[in-house]
């Protein structure tokens, strides 16, 4: 449904943020994982018509996004990383304002739309509260409410759960999961669990390039038998770093648990484990480092 073909973007200072990104994104939730500076936000902005990439083509359901951005905007819902619009107006007033700007002209239609969205995002009880007084989670839910005005078929959410407490995060992800059943939802994040819990397909972006693409379970299967775990003393860590390709380390009860990537049993007390999406993600980044 959304096709990106060799999309590249070079900023005026010479930074190549995107390097020939080619993706096919079907209906449903699609996760875009990557470390900070991977190019995720640049890609999100390019799809959201906020930034024209230097090269390549983006098409959504027959719409040439770069040639007809205004057409895509008629079916786009976008929640940026920094929503940024917090004037001294209430949630209801702001949502109503955005509904007008999205072309919901009839007062009755608009009332119904705004009220439904406020209920859906669990903001009805605070609809008269000023946006400037909203907590981070409430702002994100408001952000998704405004993104849903006009029943968009392409929804882009950029780092939506950053800074949310676990309860807010859970509530937000449930909301996204509901929405993502019938439309294209692109979830850009560096939180692996968000993608693992929600997305039918995903890509890992790093250094502006797509490092991995597929269904999370397929990607997990592809690393099966290559991830090994061992609990070591923290002082041994540097020694292990020199000998193995360590994917991740975690401190558990004062001991360090390491995961390594190895094609065969490394011996040395390592146990084979069932890989998780986090291991897939870290192995993709490790391969990138190795290639560099």
């Amino acid at each position: 449904m959304l096709d990106l073909q060799d999309v590249s973007h070079v900023y005026p200072n010479g930074t190549r943020a995107l390097d020939r990104v080619t993706l096919h994104i079907p209906r449903g939730m699609y996760g875009l994982l990557g470390p900070n500076g991977a190019g995720k936000s640049t890609l999100m902005r390019a799809i959201a018509t906020l930034q024209t990439p230097s090269e390549g083509a983006i098409r959504f359901a027959g719409i040439d996004v770069m040639a007809e951005p205004e057409k895509l905007r008629r079916t786009l819902g976008y929640l940026p990383q920094d929503f940024g619009v917090y004037p001294r107006v209430s949630a209801y007033e702001m949502l109503d304002h955005m509904a007008v700007l999205k072309g919901v002209a009839g007062a009755a239609d608009r009332k119904a739309t705004v009220e439904t969205l406020l209920q859906q995002t669990n903001l009805w009880s605070v609809r008269k509260k000023m946006l400037s007084g909203f907590s981070g989670g409430m702002r994100q839910r408001f952000g998704i409410a405004q993104a849903l005005i006009g029943n968009p078929e392409l929804i882009i959410v950029d780092e939506p759960t950053a800074g949310l407490d676990p309860e807010e995060r859970n509530r937000f992800l449930n909301l996204l999961a509901e929405i993502g059943e019938n439309v294209v939802v692109i979830l850009s994040t560096h939180i692996v669990d968000d993608v693992a819990d929600l997305c039918a397909r995903m890509a890992v972006l790093a250094d502006g390039r797509v490092q991995l693409e597929g269904a999370p379970h397929e990607l997990i299967d592809s690393t099966r038998g290559r991830i090994w775990r061992k609990t070591i003393d923290r002082r041994e860590l540097d020694d292990y770093r020199g000998r193995y390709e360590i994917l991740s380390t975690r401190l558990v009860s004062g001991r360090t648990v390491i995961h390594i990537l190895a094609g065969a049993d490394p011996g040395d007390g390592f146990d084979a484990i069932d890989a998780g999406l986090e291991d897939v993600y870290f192995s993709a980044l490790a391969e990138l480092r190795r290639a560099a």
């Binding site: 008629r74 940024g84 619009v85 107006v89």
Partner: protein, 263 residues
């Protein structure tokens, strides 16, 4: 052809009307502050009227205050709004340049409304006091509002530029004061540059733009005042020139908010 449902784009008049409504909502606090200030000043003026010493309240020329307020008003209109870079609002199906102009228009509507209230308030109190107040020009306020809007839309850091310009202006002001006026009443520093002199004291300069108050003042001291007033043709030419310059500045500023596309 596309196989998704595209919702309607908003009509121009709906966008315009909505901006007017929304700016009113966003400026509620400022409106309240203005109302409180007017109420407090009204109480003081009423006391002065009762004691027959209200003349000083209506002698002053409010043009400078109105000019400054009109120039700064766009800062309130655009507060909290990301104007540059990939601003979220630009993903809405409204052309960004037109949306910016609709906001400028909405701000102007409310500025004019506020000035009408202030003028009516001043005029009404003066009538009660049996005096004739010096008034201000709406066209001058509009020109300054246009320049203020161009300032906001054209500069990434308008406040920094404003602080810098104000600092420079104050320094210049001190210099101006130190140098004093010429025998004909013109600031000496302005007369050193013929271009500056023309812009300020010339037949179509700032003094002419802001001189409509004289029309009202003339009621009290007609003979003396009418002699110093610009002719109507001169005043209207000046006003239109400054409004044109303001619109040009605004247009140049909105060029920075054009949609960029590849094809």
């Amino acid at each position: 052809m596309t196989d998704v449902t595209l919702h309607a784009t908003p009509r121009e008049r709906d966008v315009m009307r909505e901006q007017v409504r929304f700016i009113a909502l966003a400026l509620r606090r400022e409106t309240l502050v203005l109302a409180v200030v007017l109420a407090l000043v009204t109480i003081r003026i009423v006391f002065a009227i009762v004691r027959h010493c209200a003349a000083s309240w209506f002698d002053g020329d409010p043009s400078l205050a109105i000019t400054i307020a009109s120039f700064l008003f766009p800062f309130a209109v655009w507060r909290g709004q990301k104007r540059f870079g990939p601003a979220f609002l630009w993903t809405l199906p409204v052309d960004r340049g037109r949306l910016a102009l609709a906001r400028v228009f909405a701000g102007w509507v409310w500025l004019m409304a506020a000035l009408v209230v202030v003028a009516a308030w001043r005029w009404g109190l003066a009538l009660v006091a049996g005096l004739s107040p010096i008034m201000f020009t709406f066209a001058g306020a509009t020109a300054m509002y246009l320049f203020g809007s161009a300032w906001i839309l054209g500069l990434r850091h308008p406040l920094r530029w404003l602080i810098g310009a104000t600092g420079g202006f104050l320094l210049l002001g001190n210099l101006v004061e130190a140098l004093g006026r010429t025998p004909s009443g013109e600031w000496r520093i302005v007369t050193w540059s013929s271009a500056l002199r023309w812009a300020v004291y010339g037949p179509y300069g700032l003094r002419t733009l802001l001189s409509s108050h004289g029309i009202f003042h003339a009621a009290e001291n007609a003979a003396a005042t009418w002699r110093t007033l610009p002719g109507f043709a001169q005043w209207i030419t000046t006003t239109l020139s400054w409004l044109g310059a303001g619109l040009l500045a605004l247009w140049l500023a909105t060029l920075r908010h054009r949609e960029r596309r590849r094809y």
